[in-house]
């Protein structure tokens, strides 16, 4: 028993000593509470009942919860020097809180005896005096005298809070208040402001550029076994044609084989199933994309292919008789439209006229060659025409060259000198012409055109003829000898004519 009493006395003494030391250290304001707690623990057996009684009585008497707190504190013995002054308490109202979020309330309290608390009393705005909830403010470990506490999120789901703060010193002087139970401070609590994230971008459907090409294909229904089968189709697309292929398989097979189609001019494509593959009936379809990958456009389909029956004899690759008449007509019309051979007739100055054979290896390119006539004589010529469109009115660039093999220029000029007439009566020349023009009508069938440009003419005049001409005019005793002379000219030219494509 003696040892236990001695131990209790020593511990109590140490605790009081520590508490006294802590009171002088304002930087550790929580220590008084801790020491009071420790003291309370040490004396709890003796004072517990009386403290509770006092607190209850005080609460009933004053209707103020702060009194109970204070009584609990003041019941504890204070062993330091009492300055008799309550703590200096300063408080700045917090910024409006956010509902559902903790609200931090801070204060600054100092006292020579050390500060107890401070305590924040908080309630929902408009509630009664007995509804305050007390929250002990925590001393800052960084700034001496600063205290703060977070009002729990559970208490902030209101429109506003009312509160006040009380603080005592360790000697029990106080309270110093910021606000009061009767005239509490006010802080509003607002709805959480939603972060204004940029609204999701409006979904813009970007329409793929271009469109799959249109396929015109006369399905083949019959071919000769062991012979290559040529499959043709017309593929027309504003955005080009790419990856055109004939997909084929033998009847009974599951997978198709791809046979690339090649362009054979204009919009026409072809592919040939090799003879080695035409051993039994074939199913096929045609497909193509445009250059942007739009597609595939198909004639036939994987699940509905064309059937090409292979026979040991018969017509080579005939078109399906089952095709609708309208389709056949359209196909024939369009095949007819793919004319590549025609005739051209033109006349102009100074080039004369011509009758030419026209060949169109590419839709934008025409070749011409034929006979030329300029009243003075005949010649030949050839050239190319670039037509960058197939419109009703199409601009063209025409480049021609040719040669007149014989010509009598005397038909155009009046010359009395016999030598001069002889010279002009055997005129040959070579020419090259560049013209811009406009063609009216159908590029595929009939078009009329007007052209204008420049022509370069080069001719060699016979030295003998020139010698004769010169000597005819020379004075007596003088003779002249001339070599061949070169005549060249660059002159404007114009022509008109028409083209007829017949095949």
């Amino acid at each position: 028993m003696r040892l236990r009493k001695l131990f209790a006395i020593v511990v109590t003494g140490l605790c009081f000593s520590a508490g006294a030391m802590a009171q002088t250290d304002a930087s550790v304001p929580s220590q008084p509470a801790a020491s009071s707690n420790t003291t309370a623990k040490a004396s709890r057996k003796k004072s517990k009942k009386s403290s509770k009684k006092t607190a209850r009585k005080s609460r009933k008497k004053k209707g103020n919860s702060s009194t109970a707190t204070r009584k609990a504190v003041t019941d504890q013995p204070y062993t330091g020097t009492d300055d008799g002054e309550p703590p200096q308490l300063a408080h700045q109202a917090p910024a409006p809180g956010v509902r559902g979020k903790p609200l931090n309330v801070a204060a600054h309290a100092t006292d020579a005896n050390g500060v107890f608390g401070p305590v924040l009393y908080v309630r929902k705005k408009g509630m009664g005096p007995g509804d305050y909830v007390q929250l002990k403010m925590i001393a800052s470990k960084i700034v001496p005298g600063d205290y703060a506490v977070d009002v729990p999120a559970a208490l902030t789901n209101v429109e506003a809070l009312e509160y006040y703060i009380e603080a005592w010193d360790m000697a029990g002087n106080g309270p110093s208040r910021a606000g009061s139970a009767e005239q509490p401070l006010f802080v509003s609590v607002e709805e959480e402001k939603k972060v204004a994230f940029p609204s999701a971008p409006t979904n813009v459907t970007i329409k793929p550029k271009g469109a799959p090409p249109a396929i015109t294909h006369a399905a083949l229904s019959q071919a000769i076994r062991g012979k290559p089968v040529e499959i043709n189709a017309r593929l027309v697309g504003d955005t080009g044609v790419q990856d055109a292929a004939v997909m084929f398989r033998h009847v009974g097979e599951k997978d198709y084989k791809a046979l690339p189609m090649g362009n054979i001019g204009a919009d026409d494509y072809t592919a040939t199933i090799p003879a080695a593959m035409t051993t039994s009936d074939v199913e096929y379809y045609v497909e193509a994309f445009d250059r942007y990958g739009n597609g595939p456009a198909r004639s036939g389909a994987p699940n509905v292919p064309y059937l090409l029956k292979l026979t040991d004899a018969g017509p080579p690759a005939v078109a399906s008789a089952a095709a609708p008449v309208s389709v056949q007509k359209r196909v024939l019309d369009e095949e007819g439209a793919n004319t590549i051979i025609g005739l051209g007739i033109d006349a102009g100055a100074p080039g004369g006229g011509g009758l030419t054979l026209l060949v169109r290896p590419l839709w934008w390119l025409r070749l011409n060659a034929g006979a030329a006539y300029n009243v003075g004589g005949f010649g030949f010529r050839g050239g190319i025409t670039l037509a960058p469109g197939q419109w009703t009115v199409t601009p063209t660039l025409n480049l021609d060259a040719g040669r007149y093999l014989s010509g009598d220029v005397n038909k155009f000029v009046t010359v009395t000198d016999a030598n001069a007439r002889a010279l002009l009566g055997k005129t040959t020349y070579t020419f090259a012409t560049a013209q811009l023009g406009l063609e009216f009508g159908s590029q595929r069938w009939f078009s009329f055109y007007l052209r204008g440009g420049l022509t370069y003419v080069i001719s060699t005049l016979s030295g003998a003829s020139l010698t004769a001409l010169a000597n005819g005019n020379l004075g007596a005793g003088t003779t002249a000898t001339l070599g061949d002379a070169k005549f060249s000219a660059l002159a404007p030219c114009a022509s008109l004519g028409f083209n007829i494509f017949v095949y």
């Binding site: 420049l454 005049l461 030295g463 020139l466 010169a470 005819g472 005019n473 020379l474 004075g475 007596a476 005793g477 003088t478 003779t479 002249a480 000898t481 001339l482 070599g483 061949d484 002379a485 070169k486 005549f487 060249s488 000219a489 660059l490 002159a491 404007p492």
Partner: protein, 199 residues
Amino acid sequence: MKSSRVPALLAVLLAGCFAQLEDHSVSISRPLCAGAPCVPGSGANLNTALQASGYNTFKVSFGDQPLLKSSTSVGPATVSTSLLVNQAQFAMKTAGDFSAVQSLTLLRAPGMSTSGNPDPCAGVTPPCPTLAAYTQATDGTATQTLVLKGTGIDLIPLIDPTTHELIIEIRATGNAPSTALWDADASMDMALKSRANLP
């Protein structure tokens, strides 16, 4: 294209249009003597012999050739012609040679020589233009043919526009051929170029 640009473009195109005749081998020739050999020789001083005989000048008649005008208008086109001397030569028609000739020059003379004015180019202002020249020291000794280098002069403005004649004077140093009388064909090689441009 603006309408104002169309005529401008056409004008540019037309401005580039032309017609041109070129003959780099035009040769005219005439003998010094109308008939029998007539130029004194005998190894005498050639220049003296020529002037004394009056054969130091001769006419070349080009005739009324349509292009032999420096510039003429044909419709909207302007025709310009040049006749440049490439070279000239004397080809001996008789016995003898030009080996004793030290130099020989062809000048365009203002007139034919006369007894009173045997050297039409003497003292005239401006000096008679040189058409072609031979110097034995640089061109080598001539024998049957004496070739004179052309100066590139244009003959067109030198031809009399009325008579269409060109009077040529011969000046020489050295001695005449050894034969008593001799004759040679005088000729000039020229280049003709006639070009018609739109104004």
